[in-house]
Amino acid sequence: MTTIILYGLRESLRRKMFAVVLVLTVLFLSLYAWGTHEAFKDTRGFVGVGQGNLNSEQLAGAIVFGLAMFATLFLGAVLAVFLTLNVVRGDAEAGLLQPLVVRPIGRTQLLLARFAGAAGVCVAYVLAVYFASVGITYWAGGWSPDRLVSPGIELAAAIVVVSSLALAGSVFLSPIANGIGTLMVFGAGLMAGLLGEIGHAINSHKLQHISRIAWWFVPFDALYEDALHRLTVNTTGFAKFVLELGPFGGSHRAGTPLLVWSVLYLVFVLAAAVTAFKRRDL
């Protein structure tokens, strides 16, 4: 199994995939550092009419860090999809898979190893960008999240779920169809989350209900919103209200059942992918 995990990692390294990701991430973090610095500078001491309780640093910090969370989620999702979109059908059509599948390792181990490799890379990437963003935000404005580690873990878990969907999609779909499909599901999940926020803002229980139902189908959004919630879990007052309406998805507590469901969901998706792969003619 380790052999296949290392094979996947070396493939990404040799194809300069990591180099591209690294360059783009450094670019993003540089822009983020600049933007965050300016945001804190411009909002320092700002108190709007009737907003006497507003802590401008807290508001600016949480909002710009929300942007960092959203960007990390997006970059992580793109990485997850591109690392897994061709694992089965794409590699089989190219003739890359057959020489590996006939070896004693077997299909289950092969697929799980490819998943473990991709998920490992995504988790490391998401945590690295998350903690880099935490450091930058603290450096620029002295703000740090109320919970430091758990939001990063939830963000990484959300990406692991996305990567499992792309892996499962690779059993049935060609790489392009799978990439498009998975990114559309990812986008739909985020849209459902934003729909819930609109419902929250206009006090529409139906929209909020639809959003909550969507969480069960695409739990990565639940993990993302729960992660956002943990950033400002101790924040109160007007700042809390603004942050709950955040421009990059609402920050809402998902609750233990949904967090447990996310784990079960991952297991179900992987089990379905393995079952379908074992039955597939190559």
Binding site: L96, R103, I105, D281
Partner: protein
Amino acid sequence: MPPVLLAKGLEKRYGRTEALSGVDLEVGEGQLVGLLGPNGAGKSTLVKIACGLVRASAGSVEVCGAPAGSPPARRSLGYLAELFRFPSWMSADELLTLHQRLAGSTGGAAERTELLELVGLPHARATRVAAMSKGMQQRLGIAQALVGSPRLLLLDEPTSALDPAGRRVVRGLLEELRRRGTSVLLNSHLLSEVELVCDHVVIVDHGRVVAAGTPDQLRRQGGVEVETATGTRVFEDARREDVPRIVRELVAAGEEIYEVRVVASSLEDVYLEVVD
């Protein structure tokens, strides 16, 4: 000794298309069996079922006594697909190392060196797949299939991209494998190649075995031709053992004989006869 590969009543359907309809096939220990047939006859499907890439609709296949696709069966075989590709970023040595690990081979660098020499690529150890010609990749593919010294080698069109020199290397390799006692199922379009190296030939058409036997058994005698002073005399139904009698009779009749030929049909003639 039980056969290394045993297929019984093998059937495979892809929707309404019947790729295999009741194929029986046996490859004995150390035997080199050639699988012939037109495109779409079911040859590659048969090979893929044997190595566990495709599931049979009915019937059974055993590799070294284990069901095809099971871990013990996979441990016993080496396979080169008809359409394959290796990661372009890997060197020959890295590819063989990967397959050594996956196959559980403990041969190490010595095995890799031996395999590259065997397929005529001793200097390509550090060459990346991307820099190799199709022929070199095919030879590397054969080396990959031989990792771990499998008891059964399944080769699906192993010489399709090779030039005549490359084909000769593979022929020599097959002879060497026979000497080592490795069983081979060779799926090929090249009848001359099969005729030269295989102990046994199976011809498949429309998913069925339409002829099987040793090359000698399949080649049928097609009469006797005698060159005489008055021209060529053809005895269509005559066989080799009839030659002394025919010569005696012609000499007795006052004919002068210059040459006698026993005409035998080639494997190609037999193939074209049995295949639609």
